[in-house]
């Protein structure tokens, strides 16, 4: 904690004497103080400018309300599931296309030379920019949303899979050769496992990209989903719904990220050690 400053172990006095200065140097105290000030400030502004900002308690009320009651025919959880469902489908398709493509590009120089320039052409375009084209082609239904999610999610997967193969220590291939392995053994024994951490990192980025993209797509046009909840809140001037929706969105994003981190520890335990 705050060890950047120490630069020297054991610098602080081991005798614990209470002092206000010491209190203000304690991170946890400051965190708590900061949060309290934040919510107090929020409450103050909300009470003064009621129209623009609901009180924190009102936000919680609205979230609870949405759990139990329906909005355009669905409860909060159903909307959440609608968004997540789109994310999972899009993510699954992106992974099914992206990993093989990225690996193939990593193995084969010709495939790489053909695919990479087209990839680079499309990369600078934010996936959400495709939405109009997607709606023109597929209408406002599920397909257009999943289409955009796939476009957004596929990019990190391909890049990371490709890099995963490219950055494998070439000496590892020497080991397999020395042990009597053939070309196929090289791929199975080295290429796949060695690139796994990078591929997984790509999946993490891709998933969080998918979550952002689905929200954007729902903001533009949807009848259900978390994006729908907040845009409807805007249309009905229900700020408590907007903020409540944002709150649920944030928690979901956080949980997705936490699950992926946990999975990484399980799938690539050796990578975590290297990070230390």
């Amino acid at each position: 904690m705050s060890s950047t400053k120490e630069g020297l172990i054991g610098l602080s006095d081991s005798k614990k004497t209470f002092s206000f200065k010491g209190l203000f140097k304690n991170n946890y105290f400051l965190y708590a103080l900061s949060l309290i000030c934040f919510f107090l400030f929020w409450e103050l502004v909300a009470v003064t400018f009621g129209k623009f900002l609901p009180r924190p308690i009102e936000v919680i009320d609205r979230v609870v309300y949405m759990f139990g009651h329906t909005l355009a025919g669905k409860t909060l959880l159903m909307h959440l599931w609608a968004s997540l469902r789109r994310v999972f489908i899009g993510f699954a398709i992106a992974t099914a296309i992206g990993i093989p493509l990225g690996l193939f590009m990593g193995f084969n120089k010709y495939v790489h030379a053909v695919v990479k320039p087209i990839f680079d052409l499309f990369k600078p375009m934010p996936p959400i920019a495709w939405i109009s084209l997607a709606i023109l082609w597929f209408g406002i239904g599920e397909t257009s949303k999943i289409f955009i999610i796939v476009i957004g999610a596929v990019v990190p997967v391909v890049i990371n899979s490709f890099n995963g193969i490219r950055l494998v220590d070439p000496d590892l291939y020497h080991v397999v050769k020395m042990l009597g392995g053939n070309h196929r053994d090289e791929i199975i024994q080295v290429s796949f496992p060695a690139s796994l951490p990078a591929i997984f990192a790509g999946l993490q980025i891709s998933l969080s990209m998918a979550w952002t993209t689905v929200l954007a797509a729902e903001l533009v046009g949807a009848r259900e989903g978390m994006g729908f909840i907040i845009i409807q809140g805007m249309n009905l001037s229900r700020v408590d719904q907007i903020i409540g929706g944002m709150f649920v969105i944030a928690i979901t994003a956080w949980m997705i990220s936490a699950v992926m981190t946990y999975l990484e520890r399980w799938i690539c335990p050796w990578k975590m050690q290297l990070k230390k």
Binding site: D169, D171, L172, H174, V175, V176, K177, M178, L179, G180, G181, D185, Q189, V190, P193, A194, L196, C268, P269, W270, Q273, L274
Partner: protein, 259 residues
């Protein structure tokens, strides 16, 4: 006819006129020049040279991981092409597979050869025990110290019953004390299961401690054959023995002259 051929090539390993260069034109780098080497069966040869003398390249050529520019390499009279488990290689950077346990790392070569599971278990466990890592079969490389990792590397190469063991500065990454320990371990392991060994190092003490013969490569690129010293001292050797120190002094002086 067969016997006659055997008479001429009765060395385990023979290198004739090995040269190697990288690059072309004005980017050409000569790494090795005219190396001739003969190694007898079960002999422990040390190739000694300072950094940048091409010794690792020479080992890679013998191992079949690199192609020589000119010359030939023979193993048991047959020319060497490509890599294989008959020449077990131990790398300086260990190069263990981090996603495999110690046991899985050691048994991999056998697995690739299609050997049955029970036989693999038997062999792998034997060699893990030989290098002194019994009980660590289920550990992962990241849980092991440098010295332990290298012992896994040795076991892994040994398990395939190689004709020759090739070690490329295997203790370069270890601290001084671990290094001494590993040198003694190497001596012990070799005494228990003798093989032909070619060991590359830049450490003169290490060379004298381990080698039957020490072949020096001269200091600057391209590496050329330097003096060959026969180490006549009884095994296991003693670093502070007078004869040991004399030889060490002799080699040190000779090396200084070139540098």
């Amino acid at each position: 006819m067969e016997n006659a051929v055997k008479e001429i090539n009765n060395f385990k390993i023979e290198c004739m006129g090995i040269s190697k260069h990288f690059g072309e034109g004005n980017k050409k780098v000569d790494v090795l020049e005219n190396i001739d080497l003969q190694v007898e069966e079960n002999e422990f040869i040390v190739i000694l040279g300072p950094g940048q003398s091409g010794k690792s390249t020479l080992l890679n050529i013998i191992a079949g991981l690199e192609m020589r520019t000119t010359g030939k390499v023979f193993l048991d009279g047959k020319e060497v092409t490509g890599s294989g488990p008959d020449r077990g290689l131990v790398f300086q950077k260990y190069m263990l597979f981090p996603w495999k346990t110690v046991f899985q790392n050691v048994e991999l070569g056998l697995k690739l050869q299609g050997i049955s599971k029970t036989k693999r278990r038997e062999v792998a466990e034997h060699y893990i025990d030989l290098v002194g890592l019994k009980g660590y079969e289920k550990s992962y490389p990241h849980q092991l110290s440098g010295g332990m990792k290298q012992r896994v590397g040795i076991a892994r190469a040994y398990a395939n019953n190689p004709k020759v063991m090739l070690l490329d500065e295997p203790f370069g990454q270890l601290d001084a004390q671990t290094r001494y320990f590993m040198e003694e371990e190497t001596e012990r392991i070799w005494q228990q299961e003798k093989r032909t060994v070619i060991f590359v190092t830049n450490n003169i003490e290490e060379a004298i401690f381990l080698g039957d013969r020490v072949i020096t490569l001269e200091g600057k690129l391209p590496g050329k054959m330097g003096a060959i010293y026969t180490v006549d001292l009884p095994r296991p050797r003693n670093y502070t023995d007078l004869d040991f120190l004399k030889l060490r002094s002799k080699i040190t002086d000779a090396t200084k002259l070139v540098l």
